[in-house]
Amino acid sequence: METANKTGTIKDKLIFEFETSKLFLFGDTQLRDQSMESFYKQGIPDRKHEEYKYTPIASMLKGEFNFSTTKNCSDEQIEELKFLKGAYVVIIENGILVEGLSNLEHLPKGLTICSLVDASKSSSPVFEKHYSQYADVNADPFIALNTAMTKDGVFIHIEKNVIIEKPIHIIHIATAFENTIIHPRNLIVIDENAQVKIVESYQTVDSKAKIFNNALTEIVVDKHAIVDHYKIQDENDDFGYLLNTTQVIQKKQSVFSTHTFTLSGALVRNNLTIVLDDEHIESHLNGLYITNGKQIVDNHTVVDHRKPNCNSNELYKGIIDGKSTATFNGKIFVRKDAQKTNAFQSNKNILLSEDGTINTKPQLEIYADDVKCSHGTSTGKLDQEKIFYLQARGIGITNAKKLLMHAFASEVVNTVKIEALREYIEAKIAKTFE
């Protein structure tokens, strides 16, 4: 049982690392101890674990890993990653917020951006109230691991009635010369009637070894707030391993839209959970994944309708090529109290190659009777008739395919409200289609 041994090894190493470093970590030691204990019980899930059936994390974590968070890349390399002009930029390199490279001067009134370490040190009441209140350490081993071992990340707070018109761009940089595991963590709190747009980008720079990024973001959307959230995952195809947990809680009449673009990375696993914890809430979940080579992309989403009169709308699309594997597992809960829920879910995939794999598992769990729910899923090749039609108009087969793939992706890309971001994503997609 070589695999089991190796898995055991990494688990032991994580625990050892935790014990030796915990005194130097910020915040509540008790919370960290409890989380580590929970991780110890849960272990690293192998493929027998229902939720990780299609995500071979255990086998990826074979071999030696360290936990160093030293800064490796140059300032110039970092400047290049700031693709959103005019945004408030937060640089998080290997899980540590680098203030010197971030653009956080002249923050408007009502907006706080600082490192988690600073927020914890200054005992900010908002931080204290919300930190680690939503991502349940017993629900998932990686939440437990992140909560136990995180070293830093960003804390963002938007006060009541404040509108932040410029986007906030959080750039997560992973860079490693040896196999490394990092645990960045973010807490974003949007108060009543406030509005903001947040972009998180995940990139690998200059890496020569595997880097496993176990990132976690908690987002609190208070009543009447409107939040636009974007994740651009563009990690290295050989070394970038990303497990990205996003835990959202929404209050009355708030609107939260999230968009996940997975453009590259050796393995990307997204765990997105949105809890609709009051009435008249609106949630939008959009996703686009374009996979190739031996990539593995797995999107797990949970939309939890707990109160009446809420709307959720989910659209995930994928284009799968080479020997890659894409998984979509979308769960919608409509709890007993959640009458008059409108919940929609759609997952559409195009399989370009014979060796690609798609697993799709839409799930509705409905316990209320007056609801409107639908889910649809489709998987297929590019429409041969459409290709032929374009060919008949003189368009070569390669271009015809590209055109159709762009058309397919555009349904998701068009949901991006920040123009500069949309252009950036379009350019990235065009490149992957080359």
Binding site: N161, I226, V255, E282
Partner: protein, 252 residues
């Protein structure tokens, strides 16, 4: 145009409105603000004729007619338009068909000839441009699969099409991001005239930066406890609704 005197209304035996007095003249914009549960939405529901609400006392005179005697559809035909706080979805019925039917019914009520198809299309185009709504939304089923913001914009589009005399905007700002709010407010402002009046119901003062009211009323506990100029809205937001509650308690 509208005169409300000592209006009391209840739902399921519970009194929500406890003596509302309000006078609105043509050409005016009135804002009604208040904390949750103060009766703002009840007032709009009673004006539109929602059957669940029972008027227990008082009167509403609208353009010389006793409004309370009119059925909901007749109130609409007389020019009262409610932009719903939570516009409902009606699957399978296209916006266009819906508006064509509504306009047909309203015209029939007024004894007018049905509108010619080409005139209807012209009107559609004109109003669509006026409120900057996506044409694709108009041809879809009413509000089906619309985001909250799209639903609110569709309400304003319907309002533009039906050209009401008295428009009631019930928390039209909720769920709208700042860009959409500007567009909606712009549409409302363009539709204002000397002949019609608007009631804007809102929880936050942000909307009133864009739709400037002539009068602001504060509704609390089923009564209008304070009326004033636009500045009242700012004051309210700054001090919070607790400030009104305190004033109320001192006065009581």
């Amino acid at each position: 145009m509208l005169s409300i005197k000592n209006l009391h209304a209840s739902i399921d035996g519970k009194e929500i409105l406890r003596g509302i007095n309000l006078e609105i003249k043509a050409g005016e914009v009135h804002a009604i603000m208040g904390p949750n549960g103060s009766g703002k939405s009840t007032l709009s529901a009673v004006l539109a004729g929602r059957p669940e609400y029972e008027v227990t006392a008082g009167e509403i005179i609208y353009n010389g007619k006793n409004l309370l005697e009119l059925a909901a559809e007749d109130r609409a035909r007389e020019g009262i338009f409610l932009a719903f706080q939570y516009p409902i979805e009606i699957p399978g019925v296209s916006n266009i068909n819906f508006l064509k039917t509504a306009i047909g019914e309203i015209r029939a009520y007024k004894g007018l000839e049905p509108m010619e198809a080409k005139d209807f299309l012209k009107l559609l185009k004109e109003k669509q441009a006026l409120v900057e709504i996506d044409r694709a939304l108009i041809s879809r089923s009413i509000n089906e699969g619309f985001s909250g913001g799209e639903k609110k914009r569709n309400e304003i589009f319907q309002m533009a099409m039906l050209e009401p005399k008295l428009a009631i905007l019930d928390e039209t700002d909720s769920g709208l991001d700042i860009d959409a709010l500007r567009i909606v407010a712009n549409g409302v402002n363009k539709l204002k005239s000397k002949a019609n009046a608007t009631i804007v119901i809102t929880h936050y003062q942000r909307l009133l930066d864009y739709i400037i009211p002539d009068v602001v009323h504060v509704l609390y506990n089923g009564k209008i406890v304070k009326s004033g100029s636009k500045e009242l809205a700012l004051e309210l937001e700054e001090k919070g609704y607790d400030f009104i509650k305190e004033v109320e308690e001192i006065e009581a």
